[in-house]
Subunit: 214 residues, 2 copies
Amino acid sequence: MKTKDSKIPEATIKRLSTYVNYLGRLGTDSNPVISSEMLGESCQVSPAQIRKDLSYFGEFGVRGVGYDTKKLEAEIKDILGINHSWPTTVVGVGKLGQALLNFDFFRKHGFRIIVAFDSDPRKIGTKITDDIAILPTNDIENIVNEKKISIGIITTPTDWAQDVADKLVAGGIKGILNFAPIKVKVPESITLRNVSITSELDNLAYLLTQKKRQ
Amino acid sequence: MKTKDSKIPEATIKRLSTYVNYLGRLGTDSNPVISSEMLGESCQVSPAQIRKDLSYFGEFGVRGVGYDTKKLEAEIKDILGINHSWPTTVVGVGKLGQALLNFDFFRKHGFRIIVAFDSDPRKIGTKITDDIAILPTNDIENIVNEKKISIGIITTPTDWAQDVADKLVAGGIKGILNFAPIKVKVPESITLRNVSITSELDNLAYLLTQKKRQ
DNA sequence: CTAACAATGTGATAACTGTCACACAGTCGT
DNA sequence: ACGACTGTGTGACAGTTATCACATTGTTAG
Ligand SMILES: NC(=O)c1ccc[n+]([C@@H]2O[C@H](COP(=O)([O-])OP(=O)(O)OC[C@H]3O[C@@H](n4cnc5c(N)ncnc54)[C@H](O)[C@@H]3O)[C@@H](O)[C@H]2O)c1
Ligand SMILES: NC(=O)c1ccc[n+]([C@@H]2O[C@H](COP(=O)([O-])OP(=O)(O)OC[C@H]3O[C@@H](n4cnc5c(N)ncnc54)[C@H](O)[C@@H]3O)[C@@H](O)[C@H]2O)c1
């Protein structure tokens, strides 16, 4: 894969993720090739934007024809790094944590959840879907280190998010996806993303308010 | 509230949401005033950015002093439109839907969930937390219309998201928050936001891959 | 073989967003 | 009362991202 070393817009990465999703669904035997216009229709992105996004990473299409659906899907998965297995853990097996643990998207995109953690004695020792054990929070550091877990997903109450992040970092985690509504602090070397479902709702409220106020 | 009619960056709205969250937590009796520097420290946003964001909507601080924590919180809630009650419904009472239904953030930000919908006969007729009934999908149009529900949250499987969106629109919904990984199509007049948890994970994978590849 | 065609890849340009420096307006101590 | 001080509000600037137009290149029909 040719990666031009210029900086890639974050929005481009987000769109690539969308493209992969649609390519997986649109690719059929009767329809092995797709144009940027057709893909754009589905993803609600302009054809030029799609071509620009892809051009950051190389040339994947055939001029005058379009893109091989399956091949493009594989190429983008390669770019995103979701074509292989990331050992992953979920900390906080509450409502949201359980939803994520049962979410089949993970497997499809190469996130292999191998263990979960919680502090509730009633949950510790039980299992999620056969093979995912729930271990006590105090084991985080050891297990993350031992199992070479690279991604940690935080779904604990807000007040515990920072403590959990610290334990994950101590165990040698590489990246953290945090769902608690707080900006946890981690060393520079750790890749961190905060998911803010709440701000999406606030944004919706703002847009509706705008419309009402004209 | 003074609203300058120039276009506000979406990123600004997202940050305002963050500010509200921290103001609610930082505001104490012993600490009634906060500076953009202090708030920026917590939110991991530059002080200048905070002041710029606020300046789109008016002047809320006192020069040489800072912002009245409680007052600023109220002002931002007013800007975002989360200082009053939005009648809301959740469609699809699965793992994710249940997590959202039990999420106390909603009440705090003025989203009042008054009913839920599902197509599973085993779920229809049951209740969530005392007072939220689960009704059949076919009732969506009537109930949304009757109860003047303004916001619909979609947490059904992907294949049903568009159908559910159509029903919500038919009932006169104002805004939709969609968690299914598909871009549902709605009339221009409907405010739509797609929440893509999946793309957040893909983004994390990308960042980790970048780091690995150097 | 060649010309008409179709859809990509990309440089130029426009639009948007964030950063910075500083004028300005309140506050507080003397 | 007034000057030193502090942190806001904002215009100018820089950096980033999206849009557009079209040159380019592979395909296909005649
Ligand atoms: N529920 C939602 O829809 C939703 C949406 C967005 C964000 N969030 C955020 O996600 C987080 C979890 O939400 P939830 O609704 O699943 O809450 P929950 O109360 O259902 O689950 C929290 C879980 O974390 C466990 N826990 C508590 N302290 C812990 C610790 N120190 N270490 C490990 N586990 C611990 C609890 O035992 C519980 O199982 C919260 O921060 C919430 O703000 C939730
Ligand atoms: N679970 C997650 O963590 C997660 C994360 C991101 C996005 N999502 C998306 O959210 C959606 C729901 O995920 P989930 O894990 O909760 O799935 P789920 O299977 O647990 O729940 C789906 C629910 O929708 C109901 N349903 C099915 N068809 C319906 C219809 N036509 N009308 C109303 N209700 C209907 C089902 O009865 C079920 O209760 C999916 O589109 C998924 O891709 C889930």
